[in-house]
């Protein structure tokens, strides 16, 4: 008689496999667990079971009933969850977190720093409030010389200024160590300029300095060209023009072919095909003298670039003030 239970079990298992909907499940329930279902019916057979088998028959049948109910509940649950999930509108937006980003000037500075790091430059840092000596004197700006008018200076006292360029870091580094030197110094600089679309009384520069034996003007040209190509693409040309900075000789002003029209001429480059980037040059022997280097032995080059200027070119921004307004509708674009 025990075989009857086995059979019901096998049959039940086989049929549960085939259930595809809640209604089929209901049919299955009636067929096995209903008042007149197979399992209930089997209980009525107990009277026919030999007395010594009765306890075992009852026990196994009860087990079967429990198992079948558990299986039934499980299947029902899974159908219900499934139908619930079908009711969710998955097109509703998810839970968002606030996200932040680096300021576009920082992103630009990091890109520039990254390029020069790859070229083997060490990143140095220096104070923003500087002595007259580091900002001017050691950089071969004589006292009472018109070259000091090239940068309208903000003064803290007679001998202390807001640095007008990152060049004082050159002096601080050279005072500390002997050549070879290959460094860049990013940072904030200040000029007494009234704010307008192209001027801010504070802005950001990256200074470069390389000093060793046998460094030449050709090295300077090469490094600026390499930078232009990595930053803006291989088709960018660099134009070097003579200029004047007291701390370099020969001095250079360098332009890139316009990053928008690629040199054809457009509104940004005012039709010239060129955009001014910044200044550079061979380190003036007087600068070497002021840090105790032998200008007969060592030569070097220095360059500067405006981070704000490069960011404006990179992102097609025509007003420098937008960087410091910190409007999130601007910052969120980066």
């Amino acid at each position: 008689m025990i075989e009857i239970i086995e059979n019901i079990k096998k049959q039940f298992e086989a049929e549960t496999e085939k259930v595809k909907s809640l209604s089929e499940l209901e049919e299955l329930r009636i067929k096995y667990l209903g008042r007149k279902g197979n399992i209930s019916n089997a209980f009525s057979l107990i009277s026919d079971v030999p007395a010594e088998q009765k306890p075992q028959f009852g026990k196994e049948l009860n087990q079967l009933k429990q198992q079948a109910e558990a299986v039934y509940n499980k299947i029902e649950e899974s159908f219900k969850t499934k139908s619930k999930s079908l009711m969710l509108d998955l097109t509703l937006p998810g839970r968002r977190s606030f996200t932040g980003s680096k300021h576009p000037l920082i992103q630009t500075a990091e890109e520039i720093k990254g390029i020069f790091s790859n070229l083997g430059f060490v990143i140095e840092d220096g104070p923003e409030i500087e002595t007259d000596y580091y900002n001017f004197g050691a950089l071969n700006f004589p006292e009472n010389h018109p070259s000091r008018d090239m940068q309208d200076t903000l003064f803290i006292s007679k001998d202390v200024v807001l640095r007008t360029h990152t060049s004082p870091v050159q002096i601080r580094v050279m005072e500390k160590q002997k050549p070879p030197i290959r460094m860049i110094a990013p940072g904030r600089v200040y000029r007494r300029d009234t704010p307008d679309a192209s001027h801010s009384p504070f802005f950001h520069q990256i200074e470069g300095l390389v000093v060793s034996e046998g460094v030449t003007f050709a090295d300077l040209k090469g490094v600026i060209e390499s930078f232009a190509h990595i930053m803006f693409g291989k088709d960018i040309n660099v134009r070097f023009r003579p200029s004047f900075f007291p701390f370099t000789e020969p001095s250079v002003e360098y332009d890139f072919s316009c990053v928008f029209c690629r040199g054809k001429g457009c509104k940004v480059c005012k039709g010239t095909g060129w955009v001014e980037i910044s200044g550079a040059g061979m380190v003036h022997p007087n600068v070497f003298k002021s840090v105790g280097y032998d200008p007969k032995k060592y030569t070097g080059y220095a360059f500067g670039m405006g981070v704000d200027r490069i960011a404006m070119l990179k992102y097609n921004i025509n007003d420098i003030r937008i960087f410091f307004e910190n409007d999130v509708r601007f910052l969120n674009q980066f």
């Binding site: 932040g100 018109p146 009234t194 030449t216």
Partner: protein, 794 residues
């Protein structure tokens, strides 16, 4: 420095067009900031004749004119006082476009129709300012296109940026010399010959004496008699106007012309005003007052070089003449000064006087002491030919110590060593001699007009720029060894920035120069102030990042950007003297937050941020930096935070930062109408304890046991003190402690609270037994109960 193409052509052969020349000059270091046709283009303007002029019935100053263009007569309203019948005039017809872009349309002026406009020189871009319409000569044909007539002789105007080292190029001849070098052609100097009246001798008219030999190494002069003051010839007026100088009279124009041509400033005195027929050059007296020819009385700085006669001062040497000796309409005899002043002295006086002139700008950069007589003779000869003067014979020239040309050794190897080039000696010599440098066997004699050439390196630049930078080699390899040792600061700052970004904060960059009032909110100490600030709202250096960030909050809220979470990293400035006697300038990092805690949505609640949000940011930030000796304790006393809602950050027993809610006063000052929370950390202090090295700790292999309990205790007992007590008692096996509920009120009573705490116990060596955990757990309970008079909550 302005110059025209045609004027330059008088001194140097220019085989190129005006535009091409601009490029070539830029290539050798004279940046052309602007090049434009001297006369800007316009259209629709024709030669016409005024047929009649009548008064406008409703306007005193307007006339109704009939204007004939040869084909048709138009009614035109004209406001110029000089309009007359039968005049030939440039007439802008309806449809014309003027050089400034103005389009001529039919108009009704005070009720009368006007068909076009009679133009002035100003309106046609020929002069800066006109007093009336342009009266043309009658030789033109009516109806001729006037723009064609003007354009036929059109010239180009350059505006050069002359670097301060090249005062010699603040002149037409100076730029001409560079052009001559570009094309390898000689420079044509103007004539310096003077026809003198031998019957008159200068000694009888003037005597010169220099007391201040340091300030004025050379002073020379000539006397020109019987000049007739009047307008200068048109060609001279045109040249001066083109380069931006107003024509005054023939004598003044001639000194200005010589200045522009040769770059050497001159001054003409009315000889009759020089008392005692004497010139004495001396230093200004203390608090001396002097009226300059712009009719302003000035108090002279000490050590100013003054030009005086036997009784009084007559000019500020090298800067500006005096009103008392200026050339007037009835001037007859001229004393013409040509001098050399020491650049530094002129610069200091000019700066202190706040007076910059064409003369002072040249003298302070450096003029040619040996060009003094050329300029003097050039101007004297023009005064004879253009103003009818008689030049008295002889020059009074006081030049006690001659300034001789510098000699610089010439070393072609050095040139190539700096440039990385392979230029031949011949090329180098040729380039240098093209600039009128005297190239000898082993040295260069530098003419005194080149004040910038002092040492060998200066010659390198001369060669390089004439070769053209673009023709010099470029090298893309380096033999400098790789010895890269990055500074820790860069890494530390990067870690701070990245952690902030990871917390979902937006980076801002704000001004370092703030209003004094703003700085005073954030420190009792006097801020570092700027002597010559750009404006009042940028008069001191920031002592905190908060003012800038609060401005950013205010700016955004005013634009309906409400949910804000900013951070900034930057230097702040403190009066404390550090290295080199400079103010201390530590890096700080700051965060401000306001608005909603979560991005608002259909399934998120729109609660505003509170103190525990800012504290959470600070804690998470510190977690990521692995500062195990940091703590946020001590109620902060910062006046800018609310008393009860602020705390200090302590790192290794030092106050390193603060965190809290900004006080109402601050919020109001920055014009914000919502609660704002913030923290600021001194990074320099933090970095002293920051260890960037990492060593891995094995992840525990054995299971942990968690136990929860709740203590009921006095409300005034802080969570931190309870947690500290539990940690101490829990020992090594207590790995984690979390306060998961705080409950007040209900059955607990008024001043009580319940703290629910979850503890996790774990050992790295073995599985803990229940008995072991129970032991520690019970010891904790006993200790807390005793220490805080607490009880367990059921």
């Amino acid at each position: 420095m302005k110059a025209t193409y045609q004027w330059l052509k008088e001194y140097a052969d220019i085989p190129d067009s005006a535009e091409k020349l601009a490029d070539k000059l830029t290539d050798i270091g004279f940046e052309v900031e602007e090049i434009r046709p001297l006369i800007k283009e316009f259209s629709g303007v024709v030669v016409a004749k005024v047929e009649s002029v009548e008064k406008h019935p409703d306007a005193d100053k307007l006339s109704i004119c009939e204007v004939n263009n040869g084909k048709q007569v138009f009614q035109v309203i004209c406001g110029a006082p000089n309009v007359k019948k039968d005049q030939f005039v440039p007439f802008a017809q309806v449809g014309a476009t003027l050089p400034n872009g103005f389009a001529i349309k039919k108009a009704k002026i005070r009720g009368v129709d006007s068909f076009g406009m009679i133009c002035s020189k100003e309106e046609l871009g020929v002069e800066e300012k006109s007093d009336g319409i342009w009266e043309l000569e009658s030789r033109y044909q009516l109806g001729d296109d006037f723009s064609k007539i003007l354009m036929k002789n059109n010239d180009y105007l350059y505006d050069f940026f002359i670097t301060p080292n090249r005062p010699d190029c603040l002149s037409i001849v100076g730029i001409g010399r560079e052009i001559a070098a570009i094309y390898d052609k000689p420079l044509r100097y103007p004539s310096f010959d003077v026809e003198e009246d031998k019957s008159l001798r200068i000694e009888d008219f003037i005597r010169i004496e220099i007391e201040d030999k340091e300030g004025c190494p050379r002073y020379a002069g000539r006397v020109i008699k019987d000049v007739k003051i009047g307008p200068s010839p048109e060609w001279m007026q045109k040249k001066l106007e083109a380069v931006g100088m107003r024509s005054i009279n023939n004598i003044v124009d001639i000194t200005n012309f010589a200045l522009m041509e040769l770059g050497h400033p001159l001054h003409a005195f009315d000889l009759r005003n020089l008392t005692g027929n004497r010139i004495i050059v001396r230093k200004s007296a203390k608090n001396e007052k002097f009226i300059t020819l712009d009719e302003k009385e000035r108090i002279l700085p000490e050590n100013t070089v003054m030009i005086c006669d036997s009784e009084r001062s007559v000019a500020i040497g090298g800067i500006m003449g005096g009103l008392n000796s200026e050339v007037k309409e009835d001037t007859v005899d001229i004393f013409l000064e040509s001098a050399y002043f020491k650049p530094e002295r002129i610069r200091v006086s000019s700066k202190e006087l706040g007076l910059k002139t064409e003369a002072s700008q040249r003298f302070e950069r450096g003029t040619d002491p040996n060009g003094v007589l050329k300029a003097l003779n050039r101007a004297a000869s023009l005064m004879a030919s253009l103003a009818g003067g008689t030049v008295v014979s002889g020059i009074c020239d006081v030049y006690p110590a001659e300034i001789t040309p510098d000699k610089i050794p010439l070393d072609c190897t050095y040139v190539n060593k700096i440039l990385g080039s392979d230029l031949s000696e011949k090329v180098i010599r040729q380039k240098l001699s093209g600039l009128e440098l005297d190239v000898r066997k082993d040295e260069i004699i530098v003419p005194t007009f080149r004040v910038d050439l002092k040492t060998e390196i200066d010659l390198v630049e001369e060669v390089a720029r004439l070769i053209n930078y673009s023709n010099l080699p470029s090298k893309r390899v380096t033999n400098i060894p790789y010895e890269i040792e990055q500074r820790p600061l860069e890494k530390q700052i990067n870690l701070v920035r990245q952690t902030m970004i990871n917390l979902g904060l937006q980076e801002a960059l704000t001004t370092s120069m703030i209003r004094k009032e703003e700085a005073q909110f954030f420190s009792d100490k006097e801020p570092v102030s700027i002597l010559n600030p750009v404006s009042d709202d940028m008069s001191v250096m920031r002592n905190s990042l908060f003012p800038g960030l609060l401005h950013a909050v205010s700016y955004n809220r005013n634009r309906h950007n409400k949910n804000l979470r900013f951070f900034e990293i930057g230097r702040v400035f403190d009066q404390i003297k550090g290295q080199d006697n400079l103010p201390d300038q530590p890096y700080k990092a700051a965060v401000v937050i306001c608005g909603k805690r979560y991005s608002e949505g259909w399934n998120t609640s729109a609660e505003p941020v509170d103190f525990y949000d800012i504290k959470g940011f600070l804690e998470s930030f510190l977690d990521k930096l692995f500062l195990d000796n940091s703590d946020i304790i001590l109620y902060d006393t910062s006046s800018y935070f609310d008393n009860n809602l602020s705390m200090n950050l302590i790192v290794s027993q030092q106050i390193t930062g603060a965190c809290g809610r900004f006080s109402d006063k601050i919020i109001k000052f920055f014009d914000i109408d919502e609660e704002v929370y913030g923290f600021e950390i001194n990074l320099d202090a933090l970095f002293r304890h920051l260890d960037l090295s990492r060593q891995y700790t094995p992840i525990p292999k054995f299971p942990f046991v968690e136990r929860d309990l709740a203590f009921v205790l006095e409300d005034s007992i802080t969570a931190k003190s309870v947690a500290d007590c539990i940690r101490k008692r829990g020992g090594e096996l207590l790995k984690n402690l979390q306060i998961f509920d705080v409950f007040r009120g209900g059955k607990l009573g008024n001043d009580k609270k319940s703290l629910a705490i979850r503890m996790r116990f774990q050992s790295a060596e073995r599985t803990l037994t229940d008995k072991e955990v129970d032991g520690i757990f019970n010891r904790i309970i006993v200790k807390v109960n005793k220490e805080f008079n607490a009880s367990l909550r059921n």
